[in-house]
């Protein structure tokens, strides 16, 4: 499935037909696109504007109005002192928990995915293809089927509700996509290269570390983008497996907003929502086309 946006194809299409610039149909195209873009930007705008208004202004009900009194207080409240239940340490607790979950989970799932992909495309041990097929099907199994038995297994080895536990869970659930990603990438590397390395006496691990891994940088970047955003945005697995001391940012955000009683402090809530989205959005805006490549190649995403 080659779904990358090839620049070469675009250039050739742009070369001809530069004519009809301002015909009525062009006007229609642009109005549609601009209206659609405004609709897509609206929630981001609402979040930003709400997060810098004092509560009295919010109570007026002018959702789209710019703030009359600009304030950054909600942002510092959200970061430092927003409450979940009785804990008022702000969303930063969840932020650091998420960092501690995302970093090892990403590293482990990429390492295992790369080794799997390498073994499957070059060594092809007999019968391994069957396991790979089941693994890919596993990407479509609803989490609910697997969650409870996994809780039991992790609990029996005392890893339930712990940081290593949630890291293992993310590694397991990320394995289908990571393996597929690397397998397809290695399938594009000429087999002659591998054979030459074999003739020169390279073993399984030596060829992997000295030849394949240095060549894998582009796909490692794609895999990182994919895993960082996926794991950061996960809610369900963090809720079940992380345990109260390691709750990821998404879970804490939901707890701050949906389980507090009394008047909702919308500006703090929106600031906390933006803060929670900052990491994946930054990854997205910085990585651009690589992000698209990631979601295209991870099309079996579970």
């Amino acid at each position: 499935m080659n779904t990358t946006l090839e620049p070469s194809a675009r250039v050739s299409r742009q070369q001809h037909a530069r004519r009809k610039r301002f015909s009525p149909s062009r006007l229609g195209i642009y109005s549609f696109l601009i209206i659609a873009a405004l609709f897509f930007l609206l929630p981001l705008y609402v979040m930003l504007v709400t997060s810098v208004k004092p509560m009295d202004e919010i109570r007026l009900g002018n959702l789209l109005a710019l703030p009359a009194h600009f304030t950054l207080q909600p942002w510092s409240d959200a970061w430092q002192s927003a409450c979940t239940g009785l804990d008022c340490n702000g969303i930063r607790v969840g932020f650091w928990n998420s960092v501690r979950i995302v970093v090892p989970s990403t590293v482990f799932s990429i390492v295992i995915g790369a080794i799997n992909g390498y073994a499957l495309s070059f060594w092809r041990p007999r019968g391994a293809g069957v396991f790979f097929g089941v693994l890919l099907l596993g990407a479509f199994i609803p989490y609910q089927v697997m969650i409870y038995p996994m809780v039991r297994v992790l609990a029996s080895v005392h890893l339930f509700s712990s940081l290593p536990g949630i890291v293992i869970i993310h590694t397991i659930f990320g394995m289908p996509v990571m393996t597929l990603l690397f397998r397809n990438y290695y399938a594009g590397i000429p087999l002659e290269l591998f054979k030459a390395a074999r003739i020169d006496g390279g073993g399984f691990w030596r060829i992997f570390f000295q030849l394949m891994l240095p060549m894998s940088l582009p796909i490692i970047v794609v895999a990182m983008i994919l895993q960082v955003t996926n794991i950061w945005n996960d809610y369900l697995l963090g809720l079940v497996f992380a345990g109260t001391r390691n709750l990821p940012m998404t879970v804490q955000l939901n707890n701050i907003i949906n389980t507090t009683t009394g008047e909702k402090i919308y500006n703090v809530n929106m600031a906390a929502t933006i803060l929670t989205s900052v990491v994946p959005l930054a990854v997205y805006f910085i990585s651009g086309r690589w992000f698209v490549r990631g979601i295209a190649s991870g099309a079996v995403k579970g």
Binding site: R18, F140, G201, N254, T276, P280
Partner: protein, 319 residues
Amino acid sequence: MGTLKSHALPPEMTASRRPVAARRGRPLRKRWSLAAWVALIPMMVTVVFAYLGTMLWTARVSLSNSRTFPSNDFVGFTQYVRLFHNDRWLVSLQHIAVYGVCFIVACLVIGMLLAIFIDQRVMAEGVLRTVFLYPYAMSFVATGLVWQWILNPELGAQSLLHKMGFTHARFDWIVDQDFVIYTIVIATVWQASGLVMAVMLAGLRGIDDELWKAARIDGIPRWRVYMSIVIPMLGPSVSTAFVLLFVAVVKLFDAVVAMTQGGPGTASEVPAKFIMDYLFGRANIGLASAASIVLLATVLAILAPFLYARSRSASRKEV
């Protein structure tokens, strides 16, 4: 060739080398597969225990009378019968059906339109693409919370409409039992239609320019070319998008929890949330397992033809 070193392996394994010209070097691989097997142990353990094992376990528990803890008795399909007499489950199924149809159709239509319009060699294409796809980088929780705020009946869009002079305008879907499910459709379509756009755009870019030249020579209007030729040619992209969206429908949980918590009442309950509630809140593992097996069977039944078609076309390419 003479520089062959035999490290870490007994000589008999490296001694017999046949010409490597053979397709994909079969003889070499066969003798060396031990290290590869060892390297694949994590994958095999995951497949056997985490995927197959848990499935079998859940299937077994769904045939027992388990409550808080799994029990070993065997009660046949009692839990399934109970499940389909459970009002909350039936209502969840209804909601997910309505949601699924609306969500998938809306995403496909909007995503396709965006892709086609972007493909008209517009200015600032990169900016537009970025704008349409950014919601996909956000979590469902964040998406749900933003839309919960926008659709807030007292201070959100409804009050804005009142301020603009439409004093009797009603837009309180999020607290309306009959409409709440559509608010979840709106929020998730906002998030996911950019993904469809990206998939479709890639498909459109793969279409040969000659087609457009031929159509122009024959004087066929553009919209007609799209309707009759281009969109049918995008079949593979549409099926990829469909699979992605379908998986998202079955998994729908985060957005509901963040936006409505299944309410008002049970008006936005969905199967994934039903299962989580019965697993952890209501401690009825037997019933929850039965529900998740039903979910799994539905997924496999609907996705099987797509996956089969895809794996066939993939294996054809390989040959």
